[in-house]
Symmetry: C2
Subunit: 554 residues, 2 copies
């Protein structure tokens, strides 16, 4: 065997690539796989950005999505919002630099967090139609329109035809032409996506004009802004050695101790003293910029041995129980509904998150989801699970998601559901966090981290126990009803017999017996009906579901 | 509601990030999620690179993996190969620039294709232990050692302590210290990974020294190099409008027609004439560098209307039926085994790929795979499916993979398997292509593209039909055996009766009857035994499995 090929020859082709080139070649990783999914991905990216922009500016969102058929598998998409607008000097990077954005590095809950989405759309327009996208934007200082293209080799924007426009209505409109996409009314299509977005963002009005000219408006269900998430300092338990070194080396503080207090949440002089007691070898008077890896490692270890207050939760913004109830009733019209918001928890030691969960039963709940879209593409059956992360619906890659995993692990029979896939039941889960660990760049699934799975499981089980009481109530009602009917059948004979014995009037006895029985049973029905809703609050105060507890109610 | 927050304020935090920063924050996307998986990912990246380097240089690989425990969840990992070595001027970028490499842009089958893996390891070492990795490499000109670190902000390498070493044994050794990992003997651990790597690379010798000091050597099963894949020109059906524009604008040819012939496989003057007939408006004399999008679009459209020879297949390198048979027998010791290599096919119109498949039955086949690793992490049950892409084992994210999808869709009862998850059956699938469309950056699952799923399904069904004959044979043998025993039981009575009637010797009659029956049955057994293997060739020449065909055999 000849070792005739030299390393030099092999490496003569060595090249460096831009992130745009990478995603241009692997666009499936961004969600561009399958025509229906690709169209949904584009709408998802733009709408997500619009919602974030409105939220940050404190504006109740009004978003309009217009999709027009241009040719086979070729559409124009326009998304317009009433947000704060984009300064013209940033517009290129927002729409045509992968990994640029305001969101990536901030410790605040937002829908977007990667700085990839909108640039990915520009990339996809370019590789499927060769056309730039067009932006119109009005902010507090400017009203302009321009074309934005992406230079794939350099990952830099190319802006052309920049001009002033006459408009003072604030907001941003993005327009693009895309190929290799298809508008479908499937469960993975744009309509379903926007419906779910409306469900999880009841403060937004979302309008869709579909390629057939049909207009749908999801009108806002609530007129107040959700609590605005605040940017908070990171919690000492949520950072690793490398984070700490990076923060320290960027710091201009003179002393390590001051740097720690300034940088982290819940860090006080008292806590510094506690850390000193655990790691006396660390010099807290050195400049943080000079801190060594070994010190950082010791500090992170010490952090873990101290009791901390839980992270500040101002950074988190949930949908809210009331809003979820209104939204689910609107869409699924269920016979029974329980919604709960859990207390905040942390994962990876210190990243705060909150799970909201709901179970709907009856009505439109638990509808079948088609397994194959009209392209003939197999799509994953999401069953009857409505997944959300930071209020954004997740329509794809369900089998890879912590939410699906958590729900799969629940023994539904305990909660009165004998066949989860076939009964009219829908599960709603929204995970809110300053950092959602998505399993892929396309952000359609939450990584299966244990802390997350466990907390989602507990949330769904909380709702499950309330459902169980309801289903028991329904069963019990059926039982009572049967008994009532049986007894009623005997009444006329009983009345006759009693009348003979007592010499009282037959009809009189029958009537008073009837009243007696009806009274008893109506009381029973009443009790049952109350039980389901009354016990909700008690339930929520119980710690966790235990096997005994749920079996006791059977 | 106050529109009090200005777009300028929102955008004051606008930043650009390096791809390293992105993966530093989202390391789970590279496969760094869970301690066991993270360790396997590191070994996977280094071993993959070693195999590619040896293959390219025409060297039979000898790879040594040494893992040592340093502290809880902290290990050193050393991977050494006998490959061609790395020129020192490239060593930094190979190990510390995400998206740099020799593989990304070439039209050739390789295990790596992203230029992410090895740099991802350096990144992971840095964020978990703060240490650089150490490289020793000997190529035809140099023998050196150095430390390589990655500057996350700039995605650039930092090389230190470069020095000459005394060695003339060619090859590369990489050594690093990593935290947040754990060595486990689970089905997702390093041992299983290397076992499967040996299975799909029978020309390699792979040695593992585990943290307990136990040495395992997977000795090469074949002594010849696999057919080396060649770099080929892209096929006209495998490119899109944007590819064509990019190729054209990079070209120095003077005429469009010459550029097309030079750039693409199967493109001739004759084909140009055919294209001209379809799209007479295109000027084939213009400089390709000046070609417009609309022309490119028309050309791609025209390409699709012409009959082409299939793509050149020199670019593909399979494992080979014989090699797979040897390897599976070694590892699973099955009672029955069928392996087939399908004919090359194309997906996305023109990207060639080949599927190899095997079914093993009995022996160690179909062993249970634990659902929870010892970290307590839930891991996906891969059932009894051995997935490979370009000879690299895929251990994670099975539910997201085209191979799993294809196998899930098969009606196993048709093939004599009543309960796929519980019977002793293992399925082997290897997909070879110049471009494998992975569903994520971590490259553990093949995207669910229809053409791929269908071809994998057909491959597995091919094997399934052979298995079915075998299982029918086994059933039939059991039946014959039962009959044989029953008949034998009657022989002594029958002999006695015949002896009385004919006055012949009882024992003589019994013996001749026995001989008669044994002869008949041994012939039957023989026929059955042959059937399974004989019919293999006929089977393979049949077109595809049809429902009728497989039912007919039931």
């Amino acid at each position: 065997m000849a070792e005739n090929i030299k390393s030099e020859e092999i490496f003569k082709e060595f090249k460096e690539h831009s992130i745009s080139e990478f995603f241009r070649k692997n666009s499936q990783m961004l969600g561009y796989s399958g025509k229906t999914r690709s169209l949904t991905t584009i709408v998802h990216e733009y709408v997500t950005n619009s919602l974030d922009a409105c939220e940050e500016a404190g504006i109740l969102p009004e978003i309009e999505v217009v999709i027009k058929l241009l040719a086979e598998n070729k559409y124009s998409i326009k998304v317009r919002d009433n947000g704060p607008g984009i300064p013209s000097k940033h517009v290129g990077k927002v729409f045509a630099t992968v990994l640029a954005g305001t969101k990536f590095h901030r410790y605040i809950q937002q829908r977007g967090q990667q700085g990839i989405g909108a640039s990915g759309c520009t990339l996809f327009a370019k590789i499927t139609t060769g056309k730039p996208i067009t932006i119109k934007s009005v902010n507090e200082k400017e009203s302009y329109e321009c074309n934005v293209d992406l230079d794939i080799k350099s990952n830099k924007p190319l802006i052309s035809e920049m001009k002033k426009i006459e408009s003072d209505v604030r907001g941003t409109e993005v327009f693009g032409e895309f190929g290799e996409i298809k508008y479908e009314n499937s469960d993975h299509g744009v309509y379903e996506y926007l419906k779910r977005t409306a469900l999880s963002n009841p403060h937004a009005t979302i309008k869709l004009l579909d390629p057939e000219g049909k207009e749908t408006v999801f009108i806002r269900a609530v007129n107040e802004m959700p609590k605005r998430p605040k940017e908070v300092k990171p919690h000492p338990l949520g950072i690793d050695t490398n984070d700490l070194i990076e923060f320290a080396h960027r710091s201009h503080e003179k002393k390590l101790s001051l740097f720690l207090i300034e940088t982290f949440s819940r860090m006080t002089q008292g806590k510094i003293a506690e850390i000193k007691a655990i790691a006396p070898e660390i010099n807290f008077d050195i400049e943080p910029a000079k801190m060594q890896w070994s010190d950082s490692e010791k500090l992170v270890k010490a952090f873990k041995q101290i009791k901390w207050m839980i992270p500040e939760l101002d950074a988190l913004s949930t949908i809210g129980e009331k809003q979820i109830e209104i939204a689910i009733k609107n869409i699924l019209n269920p016979k029974f509904l329980s919604v709960i918001e859990r207390k905040p928890k942390v994962f990876r030691g210190g990243i705060p998150f909150i799970v909201e969960s709901g179970i709907a039963y009856g009505g439109e709940s638990g509808k079948e989801i088609s397994q194959i879209d009209k392209d003939g593409n197999k799509i994953e059956a999401e069953g009857n699970v409505l997944r959300f992360a930071n209020k954004v619906p997740l329509l794809f890659d369900g089998s890879n998601c912590a939410i699906t995993e958590a729900i799969k692990g629940i023994q539904w029979k305990r909660y009165g559901i004998n066949n989860f896939d076939e009964e009219p039941v829908s599960i709603f889960v929204n995970v809110s966090s300053v950092y959602v660990p998505y399993s892929g760049v396309g952000k359609q699934a939450i990584a299966k981290e244990d802390d997350l799975i466990e907390e989602i499981r507990l949330a769904v089980m909380d709702c499950g126990r309330i459902l169980q009481r309801y289903l028991n109530g329904v069963k019990s009602m059926h039982l009572q009803e049967t008994r009532y009917k049986t007894i009623m059948r005997y009444i006329s004979q009983l009345s006759k017999d009693l009348s003979e014995i007592t010499n009282m009037n037959n009809k009189e006895i029958e009537n008073s017996l009837k009243i007696l029985i009806e009274k008893k049973y109506s009381k029973l029905f009443g009790e049952n009906a109350d039980m389901a809703s009354d016990q909700k609050n008690n339930e929520l105060q119980e710690q966790e579901a235990t096997v005994d507890e749920s079996e006791e109610a059977e």
